[in-house]
Amino acid sequence: MPRTRLEPRFQVEYLSILDSEGNLDAALEPDLPDADLKRLYHWMVLARRLDERMVRLQRQGRIGTFAPIKGQEASQLGTVACLSPTDWMVPSFRETAAMIWRGWPIEKLLLFFSGHLEGGQPAPDQHDLPITIPVATQIPHAVGLAYAAQYRGDDAVVMTYFGDGATSEGDFHEALNFAGVWHVPVVFVCQNNQWAISVPLKKQTHSRTIAEKAHAYGFPGIQVDGNDVLAVYAAAREAVERARRGDGPTLIECVTYRLGVHTTADDPTKYRSAEEVAEWERKDPLTRFTAYLQKRNLLEEGLEDRVDAEIAEAVARFEALPPADALTMFDHVYAELPPHLRAQRESLAQRLRDGAPAGEETRPASPPMRGQRTTDR
């Protein structure tokens, strides 16, 4: 056998069900009860309105920098909707839609983005990890959770989120390789929104698709229209079932677009054209899904208003919260407070008794994730 071709074990597929005009490939339409479709839509609208509201709150200096999700609602909700509460969700820093679906109270997200660690605390019964900021570093945690679930014999699937840029990090590679060798129940969701801050996909990797990177680890990858919630849902359900069956990991590449800023400290006009954005606005996942539900007569009156009210109440609850108690910073370093921290806690307590300012200065600085604005605006 001199120079022979080795047949590939996998092929890369591209899945799309609902095109940008809302036209349907009926053959592939997932059999979702009307109630579920309405539910999905409700959360898509909520996610969109919340995102817009948060941008305003940030501009008003009422919360700090955060990473908007506008345009990525279908990628997040189509995938997370396939999980049960006992499954695990491991987000990065741009999963507002997935997080609220998983039960994170809106006011907690607002707390988080205004510098309160309390905002990062999942509920006791919640199987979610908190927001992770270092790109790709959460992916091995997801694989470890999946290994532990399998080890304990629990029927749990782990789903983790990351971006196109994250695929360049060593942690992405190492984690997916472990997942392939261990054959654990994990679903990797890459939201390929075309940009890593100012770096376009073509500068990020020379691979034609992100989906095919899965083959390097011996499991399937699929590329799906990430603005098509039905396609995303179908692909994710397939992957979650595969994982639950014990047939191992899947990498899902959701081809989508970040319609907004990278973070509220970012200025995208520096690196991408209005035309490009406009073109993707025509592919907006929300308009598309609306058109589809319209045809199926599943749109509900006054949904926006109800959603806005829901958000307004959360914002009110958030702003009614008491200021941070500085002394609690020592409570969660270790299970028990070692002597040097006891002493440091005492000296801080003394400083506060002596009138040291506990809270933050109320200047409207707007900080990083992406950061130049912190200091010149």
Binding site: L117, S198, V199, K270, P367
Partner: protein, 321 residues
Amino acid sequence: MVKALNLALRQEMERDADVLVIGEDVGVDGGVFRVTEDLHRTFGGRRVIDSPLAEAAIVGTSIGMALYGLRPVCEIQFSGFAFQCFHQFENHAARYRMRTQGRFHVPLVVRMPFGGGVRALEHHSESEEQFYAHVPGLKMVIPSGPRNARALLLSAIRDPDPVIFFEHKALYHASREEVPEEPETLPLGQAQVVREGSAITLIAYGAMLRVAQEAAETLARDDRVEAEVIDLLTISPLDRETIVGSVTKTGRAVIVHEAPRSFGAGAEIAASIMEGAFLSLEAPIRRVAAYDVPFVGFARERVNVPDAARVLAAARETLSY
């Protein structure tokens, strides 16, 4: 300080075709803090490289370029993400000269924004200088203002050895100062006495210098006590001569840094003073630093990052010891 750093990069790139810039978003976008603004337009994408999102490869490939004879200036977007490439610093950047007995060396500069007080999220507010200072073969530099930032960056780029260059986020725009057009350098490894005094020595660097100076001004005004203030500028190699010289004169010292107190840079400074000026010491050397806790969230950051009041209190206790 942003403009001063940008000027240093631009002038060195004009002077030396081997100098190039690499990092995440340093090109078209001009860097998330705008330090590399317009360099891409002037020098093009091959010299101002928008790299993929991978710190270890940014530093690892830059080491390769440096071994070849180029002078790469990397930007790690935030110092909190530099642990991803720490093995490339410790395993290689710091060691190639030794490993090859001088056949190769690594003329590399790695710029990183560091420090808190800018209402930033986790990993965007920490101070990690100590980790680099403990690695023989690396140099660890932290400017305190536009003019010395520009001069030190010039020296760092021209230095034949790897230099970790920390830029404090709070100084990027807050700190303004005249910077002469013609290139200036400052020697690495030399601290500066920025305020003369005989009663006590306050030692700081980065954004803490301003804090120390404020405390010194209050001491002069309210306590009629003249404090000497030292701006370290280079953390490692540490300028023990200047520090010990000052404390030999004053007999008292307070060290200020933003990093957690325990096992921090302040410990080495204190130990070095004790070794070098033992008989002159009138009081224990005090360290004013962050508490030994992980990131506390910016809602609580203000009580954790040292401020003038804490330095003042420590100085007064030291003076009345």
